[in-house]
């Protein structure tokens, strides 16, 4: 079934004009998609003089790593000139707990919903799924006030909690659907053997959930790392994630814009999700399809 494509039916020895057309389209499309990354890369290793000379498409005449060093440790964000190194560490500090906790709660929710099915839980789940469609702005001000009341506004635990709130629908759905494909008999057998709620979860279900945990991790890490608006509002000045610091570096600079430093900073910010993407390949696509079913 997976090889059922148009071309199988018209295999020829020489490339037909249609084949050439197919490749021409795909290659020009690929060029368009690669172009911005290419321009970012070559710009980030050029000197400012070379950039002012004018050809953004040209390869660097003299290669320099200096913009990368500046972006990492000395670019100015308007207040201080410490580069986006701090933002990297902040993003790391935000992303790790904001990946582990939502996955843990998502798995626990999915497990309880699929196997224990307490009365009324499905209604709760339905409301949660509706919540996935609420624009963040609708919840933003009340959340700021609630976190302020709890003393968590502008703090690391605060931003982690916010990520937990906003990722709960998708994470719960992901695990609920995954557990729906596991036979109920397995669960019943574990119950007869005397397994309790937590024991079955940790010893039976979690070890079986590795594939979906990988998908969930990819989704959460890229999602949290790429978040801008929540970090901007909830993280507080000491925890600003890399995306916010990147925007500050580029959009608040006064005077001459250091395009090479800006591009290096942009690539540095994208490095984590891009690495995950290039390594994970098909798992990443699975995550998209899974995230797509929210609602």
């Amino acid at each position: 079934m997976s090889h059922s494509t148009a071309a199988t039916l018209r295999i020829r020895k020489l490339p037909s004009p249609a084949r050439i057309g197919v490749y021409a389209f795909l290659i020009s499309a690929a060029a368009f998609f690669v172009l911005p990354l290419y321009i970012m890369l070559v710009t980030s290793v050029k000197s400012m003089e070379e950039i002012q000379l004018g050809n953004i498409f040209a390869l660097p005449i003299s290669f320099t790593i200096e913009p990368w060093r500046a972006a990492w440790s000395s670019a100015c964000t308007g207040v201080a000139c410490e580069g986006i190194r701090g933002g990297f560490l902040n993003s790391l500090a935000i992303t790790i707990p904001s990946t582990i906790l939502p996955i843990l709660f998502g798995a626990l929710n999915g497990y309880a919903l699929s196997f224990w099915r307490p009365r009324g839980a499905n209604l709760l789940f339905a409301v949660l799924m509706m919540g996935a469609f609420i624009p963040v702005q609708v919840m933003m001000f009340p959340l700021v006030r609630i976190l302020a009341m709890l003393g968590l506004f502008s703090s690391l635990p605060g931003i982690v909690l916010v990520h937990l709130v906003f990722s709960m629908p998708v994470m719960t759905l992901l695990f609920r659907n995954y557990y729906a494909s596991i036979p109920q008999e397995l669960f019943k057998a574990a119950r007869i053997d005397g397994g309790g709620f937590l024991r079955i979860f940790f010893q039976l279900m979690l070890p079986m959930s590795v594939p979906i945990i990988i998908v969930a991790t990819i989704m959460q890490v890229t999602g949290v790392w790429n978040d801008y608006i929540l970090g901007l509002v909830f993280a507080g000045r000491d925890n600003l994630p890399m995306t916010v610091q990147l925007n500050n570096v580029i959009n608040t600079t006064t005077g001459v814009r250091l395009y090479n430093v800006n591009m290096a900073a942009t690539i540095l910010t994208s490095l984590a999700p891009l690495t995950i993407y290039f390594i994970s390949g098909r798992w990443f696509v699975r995550g998209i399809a899974a995230g797509a079913v929210k609602g």
């Binding site: 148009a6 624009p135 925007n247």
Partner: protein, 298 residues
């Protein structure tokens, strides 16, 4: 058979496990939405007040030129972004589906922008489109002194630059969804189409496209949510400018929440957004709840 006390214990343990979810649903989702609703019918400025002013804020909102322009921009953006992303994504999927060499590489190339943040891609595009430094500058230096490509600095065209950048970012997503859909369609269709002498493009348009219904719906919902959320790309690329030419509702709301200390007006704006979203997704959710079994084994 379960005994009564055992049953109660079972219910209690599972509800205890679901307590965080219940809290988030009741406080985090329902509570915050109701609170915003309440603020939107008050006269709150910096802090929430308890008075009731009816629909005053909504009237003020729809008398606000900036808000009306934001809505207009979002409508233009939404229609063009979804149409272009769907079309390009579908074309990429169809062309990749022709048993081409290097399929893996091509897919990787078309989808990588989706892994980056809108802030990062927005900043890269902002620079490429910058008339003084980007493409226009390069082409002029190459000898075409009259070449003009300054949309990002042009009030009438700036919104289209945001469309270009975000279409570039999201097309791969549609491609991935459509390609998965195409691969799930029975190959027999091709055989019968060939016997009947139907050209391949007609098979794609008249047979495949309708059969891709679920993939199309999924892509549509994902892209629609991206439209409603549009904020990062605008902030990174134009900051709403030139002037207020590329203002969008999310930015209007954020500015009034945090910069202009008018939380009641901002809340009215977010309620309008919420109603728009509900109007858009309600048919989809309705269809989903009636298509039993769909996605059950995802």
């Amino acid at each position: 058979m379960k005994t009564k006390p055992n049953h109660w214990k079972k219910q209690a343990t599972s509800w205890a496990a679901l307590l965080p979810m219940a809290l988030i649903v009741v406080v985090g989702y329902l509570g915050t939405v109701l609170w915003t609703l309440k603020i939107s019918v008050s006269s709150s400025r910096t802090f929430p007040t308890n008075d009731f002013v009816g629909l005053t804020q909504y009237l003020r909102l729809f008398g606000n030129d900036r808000w009306l322009l934001s809505l207009h921009n979002l409508a233009v953006y939404g229609v063009l972004f979804i149409a272009a992303t769907m079309l390009i994504g579908f074309l990429l999927a169809v062309f990749i589906d022709q048993k081409v060499k290097g399929e893996g590489v091509l897919r990787t190339i078309f989808l990588y922008p989706y892994a980056m943040s809108f802030v990062a891609t927005g900043l890269a595009w902002q620079w490429m489109l910058n008339p003084e430094a980007g493409i226009q500058h390069a082409v002029r230096k190459a000898g075409f002194a009259d070449f003009r490509f300054d949309w990002i600095a042009d009030q009438d065209m700036a919104i289209y630059t945001i469309i270009i950048a975000t279409v570039w970012q999201a097309s791969g997503l549609v491609m991935a969804l459509m390609l998965a859909g195409l691969r799930g369609i029975d190959g027999e269709i091709w055989k019968s189409a060939r016997i009947d002498g139907i050209p391949a493009w007609r098979v794609y348009v008249s047979i495949m496209l309708p059969m891709l219904g679920p993939s199309v719906a999924t892509a549509f919902v994902l892209l629609s949510t991206a439209v409603i959320k549009l904020f990062d790309a605008v902030v990174a690329m134009t900051q709403g400018g030139p002037g207020i030419a590329t203002e969008v509702p999310t930015k209007f709301i954020m500015d009034h929440l945090f910069g202009r200390a008018n939380i009641a007006l901002a809340s009215a704006g977010s309620v309008v957004m919420l109603l728009t979203v509900l109007a858009l997704v309600a048919p989809y959710l309705y269809a989903r709840s009636h298509a039993t079994g769909y996605r059950e084994g995802a």
